[in-house]
C-alpha cells in the first residue's frame, strides 16, 4: 500500500537575550530505504545560515549541519519533504527468538549491544523476561513486549525529558513515545536480540466528519527488531505494527544517534522557549491500512 505525504516540521526558538552564533545538527529529512522514497526534501533555517551542509551518516540517515552567525533572538528550522511510503504487509516472523539471537547476523549484531543511553540493566532484563519463554516465535514475542509496554505505562506528555532513562520509566510508570521505544529496544537487547530506535512521524486522522487541523501531528518514535530476515517495526505507544501511516526519519542505536534537532549556541543568557509544529499532509489519495 502506498501513501505520499507532504511533511513540514517547523521548530521555532525564542531567546531572552541575543544569540551571536548557533550551531545545529538536524535529522529532519526522511531517509531513503526500500519501503520509503523521498522525492524532495530541504531544511530551511532563519536567519539565513552561513553554512548548511548535508551528509549521510554511518547509519544511512540524512544529517544536516548548519551555523547561523547573524545575531538573533529567534531561530526557526523548517524541514519540508515529500515522501512516498510503500510498506508491504510484513510476513510473520516465525523463527524462535533464540534462533534469531544465535544467528549473529553481521549487519544486525551491533544493534544487540548496549548503547550510550541504553546501558545493560538487570531491571530491564527482568521486565523483558515474561515475553520471551523458550521457543516463542520472535514476531509473537516482540508483539507481546510491544503490547505490555503499551498496557503497563501511561502516556503523559511532558512527564519525561530527552535525558530521561529507562529506569525513570520503570519506576515512574509514565512517559512518552521516546521512553517506550527505548524500553523496548533495551529489553530486546537483554535477550541478545538486535533492536533499533526509530524516529519519524505518524499520520493522525481527524474525528469523522471534522477537517484535519494544521500542526496537530508530531514527532514520533518506535522500535525495530531484527527477525533474521529483516527488520520488524512496532509502535509501543499505540500498540501497532508500523504501516504506511508512518514516515521514517532516521534510525540509530538510541535517541542520541538521531535527535531531530540539537545544537550549541553562544549567548550571555540562554533562556529559551520552543514551539514545534508538524504536518503530515496526504498529497495523493492512499489506501488506509
Amino acid at each position: 500500500m502506498t501513501s505520499t505525504y507532504r511533511v513540514t516540521h517547523r521548530t521555532a526558538y525564542e531567546y531572552s537575550g541575543e544569540v551571536t552564533t548557533s550551531f545545529g545538527r538536524a535529522h529532519l529529512l526522511p531517509r531513503t530505504q526500500p519501503d520509503q522514497r523521498c522525492a524532495e526534501a530541504r531544511v530551511v533555517v532563519d536567519p539565513e545560515p552561513d553554512e548548511l551542509r548535508e551528509h549521510v551518516d554511518a547509519f544511512g540517515n540524512r544529517s544536516t549541519y548548519f551555523c547561523v552567525r547573524t545575531p538573533h533572538r529567534a531561530l526557526t528550522v523548517l524541514a519540508e519533504s515529500t515522501v512516498t511510503v510503500d510498506r508491504a504487509v510484513v510476513p510473520p516472523a516465525l523463527r524462535g527468538w533464540e534462533e534469531v539471537r544465535d544467528r549473529k547476523d553481521l549487519d544486525a549484531r551491533p544493534f544487540a549491544l548496549p548503547s550510550p543511553r541504553l546501558p545493560a540493566q538487570p531491571e530491564v532484563a527482568d521486565y523483558a523476561a515474561p515475553s520471551f519463554p523458550p521457543g516463542r516465535p520472535l514476531g509473537e514475542a516482540a508483539a507481546d513486549l510491544c503490547r505490555r509496554i503499551h498496557d503497563d505505562f501511561a502516556y503523559v506528555t511532558g512527564s519525561t525529558t530527552v535525558r530521561s532513562t529507562v529506569t525513570d520509566l520503570l519506576t515512574g510508570g509514565e512517559g512518552v513515545c521516546q521512553d517506550f521505544a527505548h524500553l523496548a529496544v533495551a529489553a530486546l537487547r537483554t535477550r541478545g536480540l538486535p533492536a533499533r530506535y526509530v524516529s519519524g512521524y505518524l499520520e493522525t486522522r481527524p474525528p469523522p466528519g471534522k477537517p484535519k487541523l494544521r500542526g496537530v501531528d508530531a514527532s514520533h518514535a518506535w522500535f525495530s527488531v531484527w527477525t533474521g530476515d529483516g527488520w520488524l517495526d512496532l509502535d509501543p505507544t499505540n500498540d501497532r505494527v508500523v504501516d504506511d501511516s508512518y514516515v521514517v526519519l532516521a534510525h540509530g542505536r538510541d535517541y542520541g544517534d538521531v535527535p531531530p534537532l540539537k545544537g550549541v549556541l553562544f549567548a550571555d543568557s540562554a533562556h529559551s522557549t520552543m514551539a514545534v509544529a508538524v504536518d503530515l499532509e496526504r498529497v495523493e489519495p492512499g489506501v488506509i491500512g
Binding site: R25, Y65, P110, A120, Q178, A218, S219, K262, L265, M274
Partner: protein, 815 residues
C-alpha cells in the same frame, strides 16, 4: 609459583650487565648518603624547572616525582623493541583506517564486531563516506611495555591522546645534570630528534601549514607537559574556546584576526572535542570540529576515532590482524588476554579467575584482581561480566622486571614499566630513543602518579651519525613563541604583569610598615605612634583589605593582621594572594616564559611559606623575608625585561604592570597625603611614602633641603623621567598601546588630560579649616577612576570574551 622477576641491572650470576657498568659504579661509590644527595639534587632541579603534574581533582599541581637512577637499555636490544613499536603503530593505523572505512577486518571475521562497536572509543560519526580515501588515523602512539621472564610484553596501547613524551624530555634534562659525569661519558641516544620528527610529520605533505596544539587547559593533569611540548615543537597551545569553525574549516582567534588552521595535534580526549556532535557538556571543545575534520579541511591527530584501538579486548586478535593487514608476524607479544565476548574465553576466565585481572574494556574503569575477591564479590563480578561479556577482558598479571630505585634504605630493586612512543614522520615511523619509565606503586593496578624514571638507550645508532644539540640545552623559551597571541594568552599575560607589580608594591609597602613598627617598638614616642597608626590604616586602604587595621584598636597588637597580609594566600589584597595569582598566571602561559621563571617563582613560594609558618612575628625576620621576596620579584622583572620578545603578548604584560603601578601610586598618595595629620608624625609618614614609592634617593637629590609635599607630588605624579611616577607609566602605556591592534582607549586620554592640568603646588595646599588636601583628593579620585576604566577597556578590546556556549536541548519527541 611466581617466577623470579628479570633483573635489569644484573644477570643470573649477579654480574652487572654491560650497559649498566657505569651506573653500577656510581651506585657503589655513592653510598647511602650519596644517593640521598642525588635524590635531593633531583628534587631541587625538578622544583627549579617547575616540572609538575596535576592530580585529577586536586586544587594545585604537585611536583613531578623522578628517580635519579635511569633505566638503562642496550642499543642492540633496543633495535628489536624499536621495530616492534613501529610495526605496532603501523598496524593500528591500518586497522583504524579499515574500521572507519570498509570494515573488512570485521566482515572477513578477523575481528568480532563487538570489539569495535562495543567500545566507547568507536565513533560512528568518524566513519568515512563510502569510497572516501583513507586518512591518517594514528600519528603519535604510546605503547606501555613491561619485561617479564619471557621478554618484553605490551601492557597496553595509548592512542587516544598519548602523554609522556614531554615528561621523558623533562626527566632527561634533570637526570643529565644529577648524573652529569656519567651522562657525559656514556653514549646515550638523544631524545631531541624525536621531536624534530613530530614537527616534520605534522608538516608532511602540506605547504607552510598552521598547526596548533589543542589542550584542555593549564590546570589539566599534564598541563606542564603540554606547555613543554608547545615549546619543543614551536606550536601555539590553544584552548577549544580559541578556535572556531566557519566557512567549512577551522580558524584560530588571534589578537584582532582569524587564522586558518590546517592541523590540530590534540591533547584532548575525542569525546570532549566537540559539544555539537560529541559530549554536549564539554566546555573544552569546538562546536563543528567533527564536521570539518570529517570533511577533511582540517587534520586532527590522532584521528577522533583512535580511542577504539585502546580496547584491551583487541589484544588476542592482533597477531592474526597483523598477518592480514601487514603480511608480517606481530613482533611484540601482548600480555596474555582473554576477551570475555568470546564464549570459550569467557569459560576460561570463569575457571581461572584467581589468576587473572579483570578489566572493563572502556577506559576510566578500574581493573580488579580476581584473587582479591571473596566469594560474594566473585559472584557479583561474574554476573556483571555475563550481562555484558563484550565489555570485559581478563589479563594475566605480568611479573615485571626490576631495576634499582633510590629509597630511604639506599638503592633497592623495584618493578618498572616503560612507555615508548612512535610518530609518523612522513617517511615512516620514528621511535623515541628512550621513553617514560615508571615505578608502579606496590600492588596497584591503576596507573596514576607513579615515580618516573629516565630511560637511557646506550650505544650509537647505526643510521644516525650527525651530532646534534644535546637534549639538556634545548630550553623552551620565548624564542619559539609562535606569532599571534590568542585572547586567552593576552589576558593571562596582562594579569601576569599586574600581579607581578602588585606583589612588588605590596612587598615594599609591608616592608616600610614593618620597619616603622620596629622603630616604634625600640623607641616608643607619640610621633612614631601616630605615624605607625596612619601607615597601618593607609595599608588597609591601599591593599583594599579594609577594615583591616581599622578594626584593630590603636593599643592592640597589629601583628596578626600584618601576618595575614603577608601570607594568607586565600585573601585578596595580601602579598601571598598576589604571589599565588602571579604563579597561576605564569602557569597558564608557561609556554611563553623562560625556564628561569620557575626558578624564581619556586623560591618566592618557599620564602612566603617560611614567613607564613611563623606564629609570632619577628620584625627582623619579616623585613629579611620581604627583602628576599623583593629580590625574587626584581629577578622576575629582569627576566621579563631581558628574555621576552617584544611581541603583542609582551606589550600586554607590560601594560598590565603599568596600569597596576599607576593605580598603586594613586592609592598610596590618596591614603597617606590627603588627610595627613600635621606635625611630627606627618614627616615620618611622608618619609615612608617616599620609601614605598622607591624614590628616596631621587627625592633627596633633587629636592635637597626642601622636602616639600609639592616637590614629592611632582616627583611621583608628573616627573616623566621617574620610572615610579604616574606620568612615566602613562608614557609606557602609550607605547604599549601603540603596538597593539585597535585604538587607544578613551580612558587613557582622560587620564593624560587630567594629569597634565595638575599643579603640584596647588595640590599640596591644605584646606585652612580642617588641614586636608581637597584638590589632591579630587585629582586622585579622578585618576583612580580613569585607570579602572582603562583596565576595563583594555580587557574589552583584547580579551574578546565570547559569549558562553550552551548546548540547547534536543527537541523532545512530542508524541
Amino acid at each position: 609459583m611466581t617466577p623470579a622477576p628479570y633483573d635489569e641491572m644484573r644477570d643470573a650470576t649477579g654480574a652487572v650487565r654491560a650497559p649498566w657498568t657505569g651506573l653500577a659504579g656510581v651506585l657503589d661509590g655513592a653510598g647511602r648518603a650519596g644517593l640521598r644527595a642525588r635524590r635531593a639534587h633531583t628534587l631541587r632541579l625538578l622544583a627549579d624547572d617547575g616540572v609538575a603534574y596535576h592530580p585529577p581533582g586536586a586544587e594545585t599541581e604537585q611536583l613531578w616525582e623522578l628517580d635519579p637512577l635511569p633505566l638503562v637499555l642496550d642499543g642492540a636490544e633496543w633495535a628489536g623493541l624499536e621495530r616492534g613499536v613501529a610495526q605496532r603503530a603501523e598496524l593500528l593505523d591500518r586497522l583504524l583506517a579499515d574500521l572507519y572505512g570498509p570494515r573488512a577486518t570485521v566482515t572477513r571475521g578477523l575481528l568480532p564486531v563487538e570489539v569495535v562497536d562495543g567500545h566507547p572509543g568507536y565513533l560512528h560519526g568518524w566513519r568515512r563516506a563510502v569510497g572516501a580515501p583513507p586518512r591518517r588515523e594514528l600519528f603519535l602512539s604510546g605503547v606501555d611495555l613491561g619485561r617479564s621472564s619471557d621478554g618484553w610484553t605490551v601492557l597496553g596501547d595509548r592512542v587516544q591522546a598519548p602523554s609522556g613524551a614531554g615528561y621523558a624530555m623533562a626527566n632527561r634534562r634533570v637526570v643529565a645534570r644529577v648524573l652529569s659525569a656519567l651522562h657525559r661519558r656514556s653514549r646515550i641516544r638523544r631524545l631531541g630528534p624525536f621531536f624534530e620528527a613530530v614537527r616534520a610529520g605534522l608538516q608532511a605533505g602540506r605547504e607552510d601549514p598552521r598547526i596548533v596544539l589543542l589542550h584542555p587547559g593549564p590546570d589539566s593533569e599534564t598541563g606542564y607537559e603540554q606547555a613543554l611540548l608547545s615549546s619543543l615543537l614551536g606550536l601555539p597551545l590553544v584552548l577549544g574556546s580559541e578556535l572556531t569553525v566557519r566557512e567549512g574549516r577551522l580558524w584560530q582567534h588571534s589578537l584582532g584576526r582569524l587564522d586558518p588552521v590546517d592541523v590540530v595535534l590534540r591533547r584532548l580526549d575525542a569525546d570532549w572535542c566537540d559539544p555539537l556532535d560529541l559530549r554536549p557538556d564539554s566546555r573544552l571543545g569546538v562546536p563543528g570540529l567533527l564536521e570539518v575534520a570529517r570533511l577533511g579541511t582540517v587534520t586532527v591527530l590522532n584521528g577522533l576515532g583512535a580511542g577504539v584501538a585502546e580496547n584491551p579486548g583487541l589484544l588476542p586478535f592482533l597477531p592474526a590482524l597483523c598477518r592480514a593487514l601487514l603480511g608480517e608476524d606481530l613482533l611484540l607479544p601482548g600480555v596474555p588476554t582473554w576477551w570475555c565476548g568470546d564464549p570459550v574465553s569467557l569459560a576460561h576466565v570463569r575457571a581461572h579467575l584467581d589468576d587473572l585481572v579483570l578489566t572493563p574494556v572502556a577506559r576510566g574503569h578500574d581493573p580488579v584482581r580476581g584473587a582479591d575477591l571473596d566469594s560474594a564479590a566473585r559472584a557479583a563480578l561474574l554476573a556483571r561480566i555475563e550481562a555484558e561479556p563484550h565489555a570485559w577482558a581478563a589479563q594475566r598479571e605480568v611479573v615485571l622486571s626490576v631495576a634499582p630505585v633510590v629509597t630511604d634504605a639506599g638503592a633497592e630493586p623495584r618493578p618498572v614499566t616503560l612507555r615508548t612512543f612512535a610518530v609518523s614522520s612522513g617517511e615512516g615511523w620514528e621511535v623515541l630513543d628512550g621513553g617514560l619509565g615508571a615505578v608502579p606503586t606496590a600492588g596497584a593496578l591503576v596507573d596514576g602518579v607513579t615515580l618516573a624514571k629516565d630511560v637511557w638507550v646506550v650505544g650509537e645508532r647505526p643510521d644516525r651519525t650527525a651530532p646534534g644539540v644535546p637534549d639538556e640545552t634545548v630550553v623552551p623559551g620565548a624564542a619559539t613563541t609562535p606569532a599571534g597571541v590568542s585572547p586567552r594568552v593576552a589576558e593571562d599575560l596582562f594579569w601576569l604583569g599586574r600581579y607581578a607589580e602588585r606583589a612588588e608594591d605590596t612587598a615594599r609597602l609591608l616592608r616600610a610598615v614593618t620597619d616603622r613598627w620596629a622603630d616604634f617598638r625600640t623607641s616608643p614616642e607619640p610621633a612614631g605612634a601616630g605615624a605607625l597608626r596612619a601607615l597601618l590604616l593607609a595599608t588597609s586602604e591601599i591593599t583594599r583589605t579594609t577594615p583591616g587595621f581599622a578594626a584593630v584598636a590603636p593599643d592592640d597588637d597589629p601583628g596578626p593582621e600584618l601576618h595575614s597580609l603577608l601570607g594568607d594566600r586565600t585573601r585578596p589584597g595580601t602579598l601571598g594572594f598576589a604571589v599565588h595569582r602571579l604563579t597561576r598566571a605564569a602557569q597558564a602561559v608557561r609556554e611563553q616564559l623562560s625556564t628561569d621563571t620557575w626558578l624564581v617563582l619556586g623560591r618566592l613560594d618557599s620564602v612566603l611559606q617560611q614567613l607564613a609558618a611563623h606564629a609570632e612575628l619577628d620584625t627582623g625576620e619579616v623585613s629579611d623575608g620581604l627583602n628576599r621576596v623583593l629580590e625574587g620579584l626584581l629577578a622576575l622583572a629582569g627576566i621579563i625585561a631581558e628574555s621576552l620578545v617584544r611581541d603583542a603578548g609582551w606589550r600586554l604584560l607590560d601594560a598590565g604592570r603599568r596600569v597596576e603601578r599607576a593605580q598603586h601610586v594613586v592609592a598610596l598618595l590618596a591614603a597617606t597625603l590627603c588627610d595627613a595629620p600635621r606635625g611630627p608624625a606627618d614627616r615620618l609618614v611622608v618619609e615612608s611614602v617616599t620609601i614605598v614609592a622607591e624614590s628616596v634617593i631621587t627625592h633627596r637629590r633633587r629636592n635637597a633641603g626642601r622636602p616639600g609635599i609639592a616637590a614629592l607630588l611632582h616627583l611621583l605624579l608628573a616627573d616623566r623621567d621617574n620610572p615610579r611616577a604616574l606620568a612615566h607609566q602613562l608614557d609606557r602605556l602609550a607605547d604599549d598601546l601603540a603596538h597593539l591592534p585597535g585604538g587607544v582607549p578613551a580612558a587613557f586620554d582622560a587620564a593624560v588630560a587630567r594629569l597634565s592640568g595638575a599643579d603640584p603646588v596647588a595640590l599640596a595646599a591644605r584646606d585652612t579649616a580642617d588641614g586636608t588636601r581637597p584638590a589632591l583628593r579630587a585629582l586622585l579620585a579622578g585618576l583612580g577612576a580613569d585607570l579602572d576604566r582603562l583596565a576595563e577597556q583594555v580587557a574589552a578590546a583584547h580579551f574578546a570574551r565570547r559569549p558562553r556556549p550552551h548546548a540547547y536541548d534536543p527537541l523532545l519527541g512530542a508524541s
